[in-house]
Each structure stands twice: as structure tokens, then as C-alpha cells.
Amino acid sequence: MVTRSKHIKINHEFIRELTKLPECENLKNCYQCGACSSYCPSFKYSKVYNPRKIVQDVLVGLKDEILENTNLWFCGVCHACTEQCPQGVELSEILSHIRNLASKIGNIPTHLVSEVKNLLETGQVVPPSSAINRRREKFGLPELPDAPVDEIRTLVKSTGFEDMIRRKIELEKAKEREIMEEAKARMKKMEEKKTEDA
């Protein structure tokens, strides 16, 4: 899935770094059989996301290529790969750790960013709605207690997660701005050209 430069030097550092993390030790046992990918529903249907290939890339140390790849997030976290692996590689856990590293450099999909926004605002990923609350009443279901938004905010700050997400949002805004400016510049050029032509 990663497009490679012509000559690749095997870099053992990334795997050393990764295998220090919990559950990642057994990554080295992978013999590249593809039992994981042959099962992975996400690979089967998306064709762009291949868990075995990620392990292969880790084994040869293609750190940047892996972490910058947005397809990482295609994993449905069904853990089937872990159960399939004949070598006891806890693949879904490892992939999760890899996504943690990717997140640190801003590789987080937008739907998760909005999920976090929801969480920080309402304390829940799927927030309540008044229509549903009316339905609850009809069912005679108990009223829902308030979500502990403050505590969640404090914790998220404490772990540094909020910062990470904020950085990501800023990054995105900066990118947006860049795109806008580029577009403006292009418009300007076009107008200039028009006037010139005229």
C-alpha cells in the first residue's frame, strides 16, 4: 500500500521502538503468511488497507510511510486478524499502537475529530436529542443522568489528548487556509490574465 522509493534500506530502529510497547513484542514472529489479510474484511472490500503489508513495512522499517498513510484508519477493529494469526501476533493491538503514533503526527481522520468534539461538548459520542427523550418518556424509561463533561475535559487535558486534537484541528485549519489562499491566488492570476488579455 505504501509507494516505495527505488532503493530501500532496511531500518531496524522502528521495529525496536515498536516492540518495546506492550503486546507488540510478538510482532517479530510474523512470517508474512497473509492469514490476517486474507481474513480482514476491510482489506477484502477496501483493497487499500492491508494489515499484513503494514507488518511487512514495519519489519523493514518504513516508519514515515506507515505513519503518514491515512488508510491506517480503515481498520474496523474487529480483531479477526489477531484471532487468525498462526503465529500469535496480536495484530489488532499492534495496529492500534501504530495509529497512536500516527495520531501524534496529526494523522487522524476527520470523523474521529468530530467524534472527539462531540465528546468534549456533551460527554458522549452519540449525544442525546429531545425527540429521543420524548420517546424514552413514552416507553417509561428513566431520565438520563447528565454526562460528566467536566471530568472528561479535565482528564483529556491531563493525558495531553486535548492538545493533540487541538493541534490536529489547527493543522487542518492551516491547511484549509493554505488551500483558500492558493485558490485566491489562482483567481487573482486568472483575473490578471483576463485583464491582460483584454
Binding site: 492469514a35 499484513r52 498462526p86 500469535g88
Partner: protein, 799 residues
């Protein structure tokens, strides 16, 4: 007083470069222990040996201490010499390893070295004084062998042994011998018929020819071979030379009057899956296992036969060969040797995600082998069991259950070759059939094997590198779909196919575990027989006189099996040929008055050498060591809570006397006793000498057969006697010469360390190490670590 002589060697002046031999001689004279002291520098040579003989005869010596080089190198030579003079080779000789324990390793410390040499010689005296004479025992060996399992492995061993003139009883639980090989149809590396076996007798005589058809090979007619089919081993007792075997011969219901007319099967109303064809076909309740079966008669399957409710076959049988009332027959036999040849079966394919059992068109390679057998159900043509059609496409899946931590972690050895063989057979006949082999690695190792791989490619077999995850079917097209990533291209493939053949892992046959239990033999975690040593003794088991061959040890192909069976036969013949086994009684023995019948020794003995006795009233009696099985490791001696078991050689008194003498006469500012097992650990210390490594002279080496002989009590008393530190060094745990010695030793020492802590003694005073003979510096490192510890914690003050 016992007359003891001392032979003090100078090894051509080499010892004198370090130690003061005159002073040593003087001290020994002063000790008054020796009637005579002989100093020479060539004891290991003919001249030296002669002088030893002379010293012994001239002085009427009863015992002798030889202070020279390593016993590992010369003990056997010296023992032979004194045995010739009528002395007991165990109780009359002790060697002191001056070369490797003193001279070579304390080069810069002549004073300490000289003192150490003296202490070692005196300890040798202390040890030899307590030595009891060891008698010889003779164990009669009946020249008869029980072979369990009538497949190619067992048959071959049976042929070898009968050719060598021994009587063999071959027991097979199925109704015919022949085993798995006959089901294979065609076999590699010769691509010929699997019925081929080696002929008995000598090539060119009698049954002649290098190989013969199974049923013409003369197996059924060998005078010295008794074949018992439909027979199960129910119990085995006793030891090598005289195993008491209980057998049960199940009724066959058809006797030798049977002329194979097949009339009975025609009228028989019940049908069942034919296991010879791995359930691809059906057979009747009365059937012939396969056309060449030995014995060549029909048989009734009692599980499905309707018996007297039907008895149609009895009516129709023209020779009156059927007796539905036949009963099973119990037999007792006494046999000298046992060979396990119980073979393999395929791992349960339905445990994989490959649709086996769900889709009839998913078969195993053995089922495919039946199809490809020219005498098989389809006369050698592959077909789809669902509709009997010829498949247009075939997918084979390798490592199905093998090399898989969630199933069988090992490689099953033959599956790559079988898949290659089958694909070549199909392609040669039907080039139009597409074959894809899903593999991870193709293992076609060696001459004439890799050639199969090339040939398969030449013929157009496609190799797809990937382990399929799922096999499903497409209802509409009636095709089987194999889902797999081609890991070389990174693409997800759905292979549409008509037939799937699974190269299943090989596992030990059912029932081999129970047999192993009866025989007391060790199995590995997968249920294969654990050879005594996988490298050096591949066909021997932990129980003396019980051998194994074929796939009951590990998955192997036919040529390898032939070689294994040959080796097992030679090993068996070696024991049987002299009709008796002579052994020195260095083995353990039980003082039956003290034995509390706790059964601990019975459980711990790695060689199943201990049996509990039976009292007259039928109650449990004291334990008994079966000498022929005992390897004299000493594990039981130190395990017995009642101290009822002892050794005459390496006896408790001997060890205690030796240690006490060492601690009394030796040592520098500190005293360290190092218990070294007589195998790798002692070898390592020798090696340190050969390499000239230097270490602290306060270490004294005490030889024990195995570190499992070192019980906590002995270590404690060593500390009490004045040792500041104790080293216990044995072989690597998984390479212990006595199988479990190092493991048990480790447990014991750890326990002891706990105990020491409770007693207020620093547990670091006892250290344990495991070595491989070649790890020279481990011994010196152990000494260094101990001396360092002692430097920090000081001498031991015992209350």
C-alpha cells in the same frame, strides 16, 4: 586397615612447574593413609600402566588413588587395568584430577595449588575408604520383540529382526497390517506404487528381489513373525528382557477358510463409510479391508453388524468361514524388547476454517491420494465428491494445521512433497486441469526432492504465496471459493475452484498416548514420542528396551522411516543377541524396611525404573528399582522423604566423607564446594583446564552423577561443615543427560535458598548454573561470581 596405594603423576614434568610434588609426597606419607606411594610421569602410557599393576601386586593393595589427569580421559583405562587384577573397578579406584583442577588453572599460585592438591588427594582417600564393592548383575533378555503397529515402520523392523533370527510379535489393532502407506497409492521419491515393500531374506534368495509387492513380500509367511491383527495391547509390565504384555485379540468373525468370494458382502444389508478410502466410499459390515490385506480374509465390523438379527452372510458363505459368536481372546506374552511404531493420522480438518465437513468438495491430501490411486475408488482420477465430476480447477492449501501456534506449531515435513507429487500426477494426465497451490514456503529439501518443485512449475502448477483464511462456496455456480491474499502482489484473491485439497498436519495416532502411559515412555507436548536424545538417540525412549520408529516420533517420509526402523532394529538386536545384559550395580536400591510406600520415587524417576511392589495381601508394597531400566542418576535418592533409597556408588557416606575432608584440609581464606554433574558440568571444568583459564583456588569440585543427586540436606550439611559458598552446576535443563535432573535440581536449590533465608543465611551462598559442555567460561564465571559474593557477605558464621 585397608591397603591403599597412591600413584602420583608428574605428567612429564608439567605438574612440577606449578605444584611442589615433593611436599605433596611428604604430606601424604605423613598422613599415614597410604601403604605405598609411587611417583612417575607416564601413568597413562603402557609403561606407566605396567608400573601401576606392579605396585598393586607387589604391595597387595586393595585400593588405589591415582592423582593425575581427568578421569574423563583415563578412568576407563585404569578401571580396566585394576579389574584385570581382580579388583572392583568402582570401589577400588578414585582419580584426582590434578591436571585440570589444580595445575592448569592455578598457574600463578603454586602455594595454594600445592595445598589444594593435598586436600584433593586426602578427600579421595576419604571417599575410597567408604567405597563399597559394586557387584555385577546379569539381566536375562529374551530374544523376542513386540512391535506395536503394523504400518511400514513396524513391518520393516519386523523384517529386519526376523532376518537377524529373532522372533517378533507384530500387533496391529486394525484388521490388516499395511498401515497408512498402502492408502497413499503412489509415493515419492520414486513415484511408484505404495504397495512396494522391501522383501525379506537376502536379495536374490527365496523371496528375492530388492522390493516386492506388499502381499508378495512374504510378510505373512515369515516363520519367525507372528502377526496379530485386530489386536490391542492392554497392559505392559516388567522391564527390558522380560516385558509382560497383555493383549486382546478382537474377534474377526471370519476365519482362514475364507476364499474371498465376496458373496457375503453382496448380501450384507448394512453400509458404512470406508475408512480405508478415508470415507470417500462405502463398505459393508462384512468386508475385506483392501484387496491385498494381510491376513487375506474378510472381517466383520462389530460396531454395525446386525449379528444374529441378520446372519445373511453366514447363510451364503460357501466355505462356512463365518462365526458370529466368536469371542475376543486375551493373551499374555513375555517379550524382551518393545518397538513402538504406531504411526500418524491427519489432524482434524474440520477444526480449520476451510469448510471441511461442510463442503464435500473440500478433501484432505490423503483423500486425494485415494482418488489418485489407480486401484482406488476412481481408478486414479480426481473427482468432485459432490457430483463425481472431473474438476476443472483444483486448489491445494499447504500448512493446514501445521506451523500454526493455534493448532500444531511444527512443520509436518511431508505435506509439501505430497502436494507436489499429487499436482504432478494430475497435471501429467490432465494438463487442462488448473492447479493452484497456496503455500507459505515450499519445503522440498534435498536431492531428488527439489526436482519435484521444478517439475510442478514446468507442468504449469501455479504457486500462490499466502495462507487462505476462509473457504466458502458459491451456491449458484456450485464452485468452492478460497479467499487468500497473494502476499507477493498484495492482492486479495478469491480463487474459484472445483476441488480443494488440504495438506493436513500429521498428528500421532489415537491410542498412542495410552500405550505410552503403559510403557512409561515420555511424550512431547504434541503426543509424539520423545526420543531419549533427538540427535544421538533418535529411536530410543527413556525406558530401556523400548524403542520407537516412524511417525510416532515425528512426521517423516518413507525413506526416513526405513532408516529409522533399521536403526531401531539394530538397537534391539544389540540388546538381544547376547541373551543377557550385564550391568554394574551402581543403580539405586530401596531399603524395603524403611520405604513408606509414598510413591514419590515412582513418579519422579525419569526412566520409569521404579515399580511399586505388591504385598501378599494384594496391598501396596515397598518400591523396587528395576535395575535394567535405572540410569543411576540419583534423582530418586534425593527425592525419597524417608531416605529409603541409596546408591552404593556415590553413596551418602562417601560424599559426606569427601566433602568433610576437603573442608578440613583445604581452602584459602574461604571455602567453596562446587557440585558438578558428571556430564556437561564436569566437562566444562575440564575444558577450563585445557584452555588454561585461571580461577580462585578456594573452589573444590565434587563429582556427582547428576545434580538431581544433590539434595538440600547435603548442601546444608556442607555449609554446616564449614563451606562459605556452594556452587551447583548441571547440564542445560533441556539437555540434561538424565532428562529431568537439571529441572528437578533447580527446583530443589530454589527451595533450599528459601529455607536458607528463613534460617538467616544469605541465599546467595548457594548458586546454581546450567552449562553446555562447550561453555568454558561459564565455570570460571560461576567461581568469580561466588568469590565476589563472598567478598561482600564474608565468611559464613554458623550458630
Amino acid at each position: 586397615m585397608t591397603k591403599i596405594g597412591l600413584a602420583l603423576c608428574d605428567c612429564f614434568g608439567q605438574f612440577a612447574e606449578v605444584i611442589d610434588l615433593d611436599s605433596i609426597e611428604q604430606s601424604m606419607r605423613d598422613s599415614g593413609k597410604f601403604s605405598v606411594i609411587l611417583r612417575k610421569d607416564d601413568f597413562c602410557m603402557t609403561s606407566g600402566l605396567e608400573s601401576i599393576k606392579q605396585m598393586i601386586t607387589e604391595n597387595n593393595l586393595e585400593k588405589i588413588v591415582i592423582a593425575a589427569c581427568s578421569p574423563k580421559a583415563y578412568e576407563t583405562v585404569f578401571r580396566k587395568v585394576i579389574e584385570e587384577l581382580g579388583m572392583n573397578k568402582y570401589s577400588s579406584l578414585v582419580m584426582v584430577n590434578l591436571e585440570n583442577h589444580v595445575v592448569a588453572v592455578h598457574k600463578e599460585m603454586p602455594k595454594e595449588a600445592t595445598k589444594k592438591a593435598k586436600a584433593l588427594i586426602l578427600a579421595a582417600v576419604a571417599k575410597i575408604e567408604k567405597a563399597e564393592s559394586i557387584e555385577k548383575i546379569k539381566i536375562p533378555i529374551q530374544p523376542t520383540t513386540l512391535i506395536i503397529g503394523g504400518g511400514i515402520a513396524g513391518e520393516t523392523a519386523a523384517q529386519e529382526l526376523t532376518d537377524l533370527g529373532f522372533d517378533v510379535t507384530l500387533v496391529e489393532r486394525r484388521p490388516s497390517i499395511g498401515g497408512r502407506m498402502l492408502q497413499l497409492g503412489t509415493v515419492y521419491p520414486t513415484d511408484d506404487c505404495s504397495l512396494c515393500v522391501r522383501s525379506s531374506g537376502y536379495v536374490g534368495f527365496d523371496v528375492g528381489g530388492p522390493r516386492r509387492c506388499f502381499y508378495r513380500g512374504g510378510l505373512g509367511t515369515l516363520d519367525k513373525l507372528e502377526i496379530l491383527t485386530n489386536t490391542e495391547v492392554k497392559d505392559v509390565k516388567g522391564q527390558i528382557g522380560n516385558f509382560k504384555v497383555s493383549l486382546e485379540k478382537k474377534p474377526r468373525y471370519v476365519n482362514e477358510r475364507c476364499i474371498n468370494c465376496h458373496k457375503c458382502a453382496e448380501v450384507c444389508p448394512v453400509e458404512v463409510e470406508n475408512s480405508f478410502d478415508f470415507n470417500l466410499t462405502k463398505r459393508k459390515a462384512i468386508y475385506r479391508p483392501f484387496p491385498q490385506s494381510i491376513p487375506p480374509y474378510y472381517v466383520i465390523d462389530p460396531n454395525i453388524c446386525l449379528f444374529e438379527k441378520c446372519a445373511k452372510c453366514v447363510e451364503i458363505c460357501p466355505t462356512n468361514a463365518i462365526n458370529l459368536n466368536e469371542k475376543s481372546e486375551k493373551m499374555e506374552k513375555a517379550l524382551g524388547i518393545v518397538i513402538m511404531a504406531t504411526g500418524f493420522e491427519e489432524y482434524d480438518a474440520s477444526r480449520l476454517n476451510y469448510g471441511y465437513g461442510m463442503f464435500p468438495d473440500v478433501v484432505t491430501q490423503l483423500q486425494l491420494a485415494r482418488m489418485l490411486d489407480p486401484t482406488g475408488p476412481s481408478y486414479g482420477e480426481p473427482y468432485r465428491p459432490s457430483n463425481q465430476d472431473m474438476p476443472q480447477k483444483i486448489v491445494m492449501i499447504q500448512c493446514a494445521g501445521s506451523r500454526d501456534e493455534t493448532h500444531m506449531p511444527y512443520c509436518s515435513n511431508v505435506c509439501c512433497m505430497i502436494a507436489l507429487k499429487h499436482s504432478i500426477m494430475i497435471k501429467e494426465k490432465h494438463p487442462e486441469i488448473d492447479i493452484t497451490i497456496c503455500y507459505m514456503d515450499i519445503r522440498s529439501v534435498g536431492k531428488n526432492y527439489e526436482e519435484y518443485y521444478r517439475k510442478a512449475r514446468e507442468l504449469g502448477v501455479v504457486f500462490l504465496r499466502g495462507k487462505p483464511s476462509y473457504v466458502v462456496d458459491d451456491q449458484r455456480t456450485e464452485k468452492i471459493l478460497v479467499e487468500v491474499e497473494n502476499t507477493l502482489t498484495g492482492e486479495f484473491n478469491i480463487l474459484e475452484t472445483d476441488l480443494v485439497a488440504l495438506s493436513m498436519a500429521m498428528v500421532p495416532s489415537k491410542g498412542s498416548a495410552e500405550l505410552a502411559k503403559m510403557l512409561g515412555i515420555e511424550l512431547d507436548e504434541y503426543g509424539f514420542i520423545q526420543p531419549l536424545d533427538p540427535k544421538i538417540r533418535p529411536v530410543e525412549t527413556n525406558v530401556a528396551g523400548v524403542f520407537a520408529t516412524g511417525c510416532t516420533i515425528t512426521p517423516m517420509d518413507i525413506p526416513t522411516t526405513m532408516a529409522y526402523s533399521g536403526t531401531a532394529s539394530i538397537r534391539a538386536a544389540k540388546l538381544m543377541q547376547s541373551r543377557e545384559m550385564e550391568k554394574d550395580k551402581v543403580t539405586a536400591w530401596v531399603n524395603q524396611d524403611i520405604c513408606s510406600t509414598c510413591r514419590i520415587c515412582e513418579q519422579v524417576c525419569p526412566f520409569s525404573a521404579i515399580e511399586m511392589g505388591v504385598k501378599e495381601d494384594g496391598k501396596l508394597g515397598p518400591a523396587e528399582v528395576l535395575d535394567a531400566k535405572c540410569y543411576a542418576c540419583g534423582l530418586c535418592v534425593s527425592a525419597c522423604p524417608s531416605a529409603a533409597i541409596s546408591f552404593k556408588f556415590y553413596s551418602e557416606e562417601q560424599l559426606k566423607a569427601e566433602i568433610s575432608s576437603l573442608l578440613h584440609n583445604g581452602g584459602t581464606d574461604k571455602k567453596i564446594i562446587a557440585f558438578l554433574c558428571d556430564e556437561c558440568a564436569y566437562g566444562t571444568a575440564d575444558e577450563a583446564g585445557f584452555m588454561g583459564l585461571q580461577y580462585d583456588p578456594s573452589v573444590y569440585i565434587v563429582r556427582v552423577p547428576c545434580i538431581s543427586r544433590v539434595d538440600p540436606q547435603l548442601v546444608l550439611s556442607t555449609l554446616q561443615e564449614g563451606a562459605d559458598g556452594v556452587l551447583v552446576i548441571g547440564c542445560l535443563k533441556d539437555r540434561c543427560h538424565f532428562l529431568k535432573g537439571s529441572e528437578v535440581g533447580d527446583l530443589r536449590v530454589n527451595l533450599l535458598r528459601l529455607l536458607l533465608n528463613q534460617m538467616g543465611i544469605n541465599e546467595e551462598r548457594v548458586k546454581m548454573y546450567f552449562v553446555d559442555c562447550a561453555e568454558v567460561n561459564l565455570f570460571t564465571r560461576a567461581v568469580e561470581e561466588m568469590t565476589q559474593t563472598l567478598e561482600t557477605i564474608g565468611k559464613l558464621q554458623m550458630q
